[in-house]
């Protein structure tokens, strides 16, 4: 058993006892002590000179930090719809039963706990789980049994079969980005040759738009940051990749990490920033060491650090921060809050990050893929880049394909590709729906499969989930709504309350007690969320229900009651306890179903 104060002291020292490092400190401490005890909370607070409540607010915000002991083996089964389609819930129940556990409760001996978690980004090789933040892929009943035995035998994770932790890239179609050979340092040298203004001009010519979802023109973002007043600037790489069904950044982080880092350095060079931060989602904790090793080797060959590639005044280095299980931290201002060690709640904008971002300094936040594309622009020049794709969507897009198809994985296409082309290439047959860009995106039906993936038609951050003819789209929408209700950060009332009301209404319908009344309420709530939520999460949280009600209405209708309302409560059952205590069983002590 490690000594709490010793572990805390070491973490504080590594993180220079800076309050902005609070989340990182807690994460590191928990890796050793398995949870954040009140004792830990107090020594961290004392060490940083901040109130204990500030530490608690962070612990309570992030799903992967625990205020209660959750065992030495903390197992989280990925609960995306694609995991469910592969039987994850049965495996989850099986695991609970084998370990004699209730969901999210540590076993009596303090060894293990099992719970569900939002999409872990292993959709093409699920069902997946995380054990102490390490992913186990391709779960089967047998593998689950083996895991239970290993846990019961108290076998350290390091001795578990390496095969469990194998994560494949599954690149099925490569194009300009994934398919090109890359000479390390070539992007940097090309940018240096162009000069700071020259590089910005190429970015403008390229028409590169952000790949994280919103599609904002990258050159405009960079230029605004460069022109914002301030001495220090930051480049942030958004590797939070929380949108269920998206896993392309994971592949880039695994096999194209140096290009990401070079892209960040090129951005730093162009806007005049010397500091880079990469925000890595907690689910990708297993990539931390390989990424740190890459950074080290890049520092060694002067691709990071002072005077990069010998260019005087080109100084840039990168620090990696880890998230801890919060989808909202992908939203750029929430991400910045999280980088500052706080709960990840979206800021009120303006000011935008380009003028007041990390620590109030001008900051560029870009998606992983966007930054890799910057290396392509540096090498090819903007004009060639703009020549691919469509008029308003230059270049290529990496799609994360999962669900009902023969070959799930990563597909890179020039923008403008038709949905039906992707379906054909991945071997999908009898498709009834495709969910594009995750739960916050759009649900397409076969009559729309000739539409194009592009900002001007069907925009996407990359997720492409396929549903075959056996699938029940009501359950898909319910899973997505659970996701939003769980991930709402609680900052604004429409989203905090509205997502839960939507979830409960869907549960009532699933239970066979819903009526048109619930449908009306759902539509009203979806509209309210869209209009009045503070950030994109709430604004899009009603989409899955709205889309599937429009396109898969019978899936709802067959669950609805014939009458126009059914109570949410069984009133007679709700009197049971009072009947017992009062010792009554007369007619007045019961209440019938309807008057």
């Amino acid at each position: 058993m490690s000594d709490t104060s010793e572990v805390v002291l070491q973490a504080l020292e590594r993180r220079r006892a800076e309050p902005t490092q609070l989340l990182q400190i807690l994460r590191e401490v928990q890796e050793e002590l398995d949870w954040i005890s009140p004792e830990t909370t107090h020594s961290v607070a004392a060490g940083l000179g901040i109130p204990a409540t500030q530490v608690e607010s962070v612990v309570q915000f992030y799903s992967f930090l625990y205020e209660q002991p959750r065992g030495r083996y903390r197992i989280l089964v990925s609960d995306n719809i694609t995991d469910r389609m592969l039987g994850s819930l049965t495996l989850f129940e099986h695991m609970l039963k084998r370990l004699k556990l209730r969901r999210a409760e540590a076993s009596a001996d303090g060894a293990v706990s099992v719970d569900l978690t939002s999409c872990t980004g292993m959709c093409d090789q699920g069902p997946a789980l995380l054990v102490n933040n390490r992913p186990v892929t391709r779960l089967t009943a047998r593998r689950v049994d083996e895991i239970c035995d290993l846990v019961r035998g108290d076998v350290p994770l390091a001795e578990w079969p390496a095969d469990y932790f194998r994560v494949e890239d599954n690149i099925r179609r490569a194009d300009a980005l994934l398919g090109s050979r890359y000479e390390p340092g070539s992007g940097l040298r090309a940018a240096i040759a162009l000069g700071r203004q020259g590089m910005l001009d190429e970015m403008k010519r390229s028409n590169l738009r952000g790949r994280g979802g919103a599609g904002f023109a990258t050159a405009v973002k960079w230029e605004s940051c460069r022109n914002a007043p301030g001495a220090e600037r930051y480049i942030v790489c958004n590797a939070d990749e929380g949108e269920p069904g998206t896993f392309k950044d994971r592949v880039l982080l695994t096999s194209f990490a140096e290009r990401i880092f070079e892209g960040m350095a090129i951005a730093g060079f162009t806007v005049g920033a010397a500091n880079g931060l990469l925000y890595l989602r907690g689910e990708y904790r297993y990539l931390l060491e390989p990424l740190e090793a890459k950074l080290e080797s890049m520092r060694r060959d002067r691709r990071l650090g002072a005077s990069i590639c010998g260019a005087q005044g080109f100084d840039f280095d990168i620090e990696i921060h880890l998230g801890a299980g919060a989808y909202i931290c992908g939203e750029e201002s929430a991400l910045i809050e999280s980088l500052e060690g706080k709960p990840g709640k979206p800021r009120i904008r303006p000011p935008f990050p380009v003028t007041a971002g990390y620590l109030g300094k001008p900051t560029v936040v870009n998606n992983v893929e966007t930054l890799v594309e910057a290396t392509v622009v540096a090498l090819q020049g903007g004009r060639i880049f703009a020549g691919h794709g469509t008029r308003h969507s230059a270049g290529t897009k990496i799609l994360s394909v999962s669900g009902d198809c023969a070959r799930p994985g990563i597909y890179e296409y020039p923008f403008g590709v038709r949905v039906e082309q992707v379906l054909k290439d991945c071997g999908a047959a009898d498709v009834v729906a495709v969910q594009i860009s995750g739960p916050s995106g759009i649900c397409l039906t076969p009559d729309e499969f000739r539409r194009h993936i592009a900002f001007e038609d069907v925009p996407t951050a990359g997720a492409f989930m396929i549903f075959g003819k056996e699938r029940d789209l009501f359950e898909v929408a319910r899973n997505f709504t659970y996701f939003f209700a769980h991930e709402s950060c609680g900052f604004c009332t429409p989203c905090r309350v509205g997502t839960t009301l939507m979830r409960d209404a869907l549960d009532k319908i699933a239970d066979g007690r819903g009526s048109r009344y619930e449908i009306n309420e759902l539509m009203r709530l979806a509209e309210l969320l869209r209009r009045t939520s503070h950030c994109g999460l709430g604004q899009t949280a009603g989409n899955p229900v709205r889309d599937t009600w429009l396109k898969f209405r019978p899936a709802y209708e067959r669950r609805l009651i014939r009458g126009d309302f059914d109570p949410a409560v069984d009133l007679d059952a709700a009197l049971t306890r009072a009947r017992e205590i009062a010792g009554r069983d007369d007619a007045g002590a019961h209440i019938g179903a309807e008057q």
Binding site: D564, P567, V569, L571, A574, A578, A582, A589
Partner: protein, 186 residues
């Protein structure tokens, strides 16, 4: 004025009101419309309501429900009002969310009854079991978990102006809307 040109007078709008598990604050706020109640009486009349002391509801246009549903009697009253009203309105935080009475929802209703009645040494040793008394539900429920609700007027209590505006909108056939000033409590 010729007789035939006269439009037939619209029948008066019939309004029923009740307080379930509430504090009567919403009703008091309703009465704060003061003399405007005389204008209201020109176009409306009351059915079951604390104002008329009518005990059972008959067919009516609008039912205003204050308070949540805490016991069997509340549920009977509410169902009767729903069966009779064309439009049912939940008024105030208690009706909409359970409100203050729902503070007990974290506790077991059996523990509550024992604490209040049985555990009083020497005073009383049993929980009352008279069939006349309505039994408590395990929890206090918002109105919309027991019957269909058509409209909600938020507030604790909603101001007289808010209730007045809402009622007028309903009676005149407009979509009820409260402006920011009528929803702002600080």
């Amino acid at each position: 004025m010729s007789e035939s040109a006269e439009t037939p007078a619209l029948p008066k709008v019939r309004i029923a009101t009740t307080s379930l598990a509430g504090c009567f604050g919403c009703h008091m706020s309703f009465l704060d419309i003061d003399e405007r109640i005389l204008d209201l009486m020109k176009i409306a009349e009351f059915d079951r309501s604390p104002i008329t002391d009518i005990k059972h509801c008959s067919p009516c246009d609008i039912a205003l429900i204050e308070g949540g549903v805490c016991n069997a009697e509340n549920a009977h009253v509410l169902r009767e009002m729903r069966a009779n009203a064309k439009i049912l309105v939940a008024i105030g935080a208690c009706a909409i969310n359970g409100g203050l009475p729902a503070m007990r929802n974290r506790l077991d209703v059996g523990d509550i009854l024992n604490e209040v009645y049985r555990d009083l040494d020497g005073v009383q040793s049993h929980v009352p079991n008279d069939p006349e008394l309505p039994l408590l539900f395990d929890k206090v429920y918002p109105v919309n978990e027991v019957v269909r609700v058509d409209y909600f007027i938020p507030g604790c209590p909603p101001s007289a102006d808010a209730i007045w505006k809402y009622l007028n909108d309903l009676i005149l056939g407009r979509m009820p809307r409260l402006d920011h000033s009528l929803l702002h409590y600080d």
